[in-house]
């Protein structure tokens, strides 16, 4: 037990160090770094102000728009697909197959496909291919299996069409799972690195491409790098903190079945 606790302590230190340093670097004055005097006290927001000239905010805009629209599509289309499968459409095999293939492994053929569809270097390249996600379909299907079917039968007896049932009956019941899936899907899209790097050029850079480029062009400006990293993480952090309980509950529920 002592060894196990020791490992835990080491793991905690190891986990905390990069995070602590990121936050520290983001808030210390640049002079303290130039003087190599990192024990200097004092907090500054200058690093965040300096981000204004770097193009980070533009990249944030692109990322928020692209990830937001992609996730909206994934939820709407995913719910429809999950409902169809629950009603007997034989598509589960395809969904599972696609889940097993990491999307960025298909960069080469996707590049050709986007060329054919004239999507290379457009905002659409960041959104359209991500309007549906096999993982989201799968998560929603798992959730749908727990919904009592009488609810849907009752709506049918009232004469509601299938589309109306999904929008008015199923979606509200699955709200917790939709929220959890949305947060996970948002983080996944937000964290794409190679895909946006390959399919777009500078005017459409997402935050990830921007961050890797900033690290390349201004490697000595610790404060600026730290501040940029924090700002770029903010959306995921906020979503997670707000919905933490939902996400963990959904995870564990999906996991039990």
């Amino acid at each position: 037990m002592i060894v196990m606790r020791l490992i835990t302590v080491v793991a905690c230190v190891f986990a905390a160090l990069p995070l602590a340093w990121l936050v520290y670097a983001a808030f210390i004055p640049a002079e303290a770094l130039i003087a190599a005097n990192i024990a200097t006290f004092g907090v500054t927001l200058a690093n965040f102000a300096a981000l204004g000239d770097t193009g980070l905010w533009r990249a944030m805009g692109v990322s928020v728009l692209a990830s937001g629209l992609a996730v909206t599509g994934q939820l709407a289309f995913g719910l429809g697909a999950a409902y169809a499968i629950r009603n007997g459409a034989r598509l589960l095999g395809l969904v599972l197959l696609l889940m097993a293939i990491p999307s960025e492994l298909l960069l080469v053929p996707l590049y050709r496909q986007l060329q054919t569809l004239s999507l290379i270097d457009t905002l659409g390249a960041l959104i359209v291919p991500f309007l549906a996600s096999p993982l989201v379909v799968f998560l929603l299907l798992q959730a749908l299996r727990r919904v009592p079917w009488e609810l849907i039968e009752a709506a049918r007896l009232d004469g509601a069409g299938e589309g109306v049932i999904v929008a008015r009956v199923v979606a509200p019941v699955l709200r917790p799972e939709l929220v959890a899936a949305a947060v996970l899907a948002f983080a996944a899209h937000w964290n794409l690195v190679l895909y946006p790097r390959v399919m777009t050029t500078e005017s459409l850079w997402t935050v990830q491409v921007f961050l890797t480029d900033l690290l390349r062009t201004r490697p000595f400006e610790w404060g600026l790098l730290g501040a940029a990293a924090l700002v770029a993480s903010a959306p995921i952090l906020v979503l997670y903190v707000v919905f933490e309980k939902r996400i963990i509950a959904t995870f564990e529920a999906g996991f039990r079945s």
Partner: protein, 285 residues
Amino acid sequence: MSERRQASLLALPAMAVFVLFSVVPLLSVARYATWRWSGTSEPVGVGAANLMRLLRDDALWQSLGTTVTFALIAMPTFLALSLVIALAIEGLRVERFVKALLFAPGLVTVGGSAIAWYLLYNPDFGVLVELTGWRLPWTTQPAAALAYVIAFTLWQQTGYGVLMVSAALKGVPREVKEAARIDGAHEREVRRFIVVPLLRPTLAFLTIVGTVLALQSYTAVYLLTRGGPFGSTRVLGYYVYETAFENFELGYGAALTLFALLVTLVVAVLQARVLVERSKRGARA
């Protein structure tokens, strides 16, 4: 129109996306693999030349070896750490705090994580070398570079593993543990013979997660080492990317994609088989 058919229509938008951006690309890889093509040039058919090149491409076999080494080190470590830490903190007052702390790296966006590690561990002007003089050799020594990428991946993912195991631990019935203790079992024996066997499904699940992580390690490689030094961290996925989009040989990149897909398929089949075996054995016991 029957309700079932009406419901099926609701799958159409998602299926259209899947077909256009997954199925068609998947089915076309083999055709693109017969091209010489820079991405912007007009593709030229070269027959089986790219496929023949696969066979005598030393970099490819090195890359496959790197990927396997990565998986064989990263996955058992990931499983062991998740299990050990979850067991060590169970029921302690710090349990929630430790779990939150270990999960936190997963919430920093990947590009930001790369920056955090760079600031800390860069051997030329990172904080570690400034403060302690300890120069990590990951930019020059192949083995250290691979260890560095693995450590980064574990740093990102271990919190998730701990959460999963911890959730499963909560599901182990207290009576079972109590009964073993009354029978005179030592705390260590309770863990070894009661708790860990009951966690088997969770660990099997985490094995799959771990494999997927190993196959997807190309993002970490791109962010940290770009495959170097001397190609020592060039995992399969990264080699595909590098060939196609750094060296602009998309035709050969397609051939490499075919190979990578084949590897993914083999791994998936092996895993499915292991899982089925296990659940059979579990059912018999």
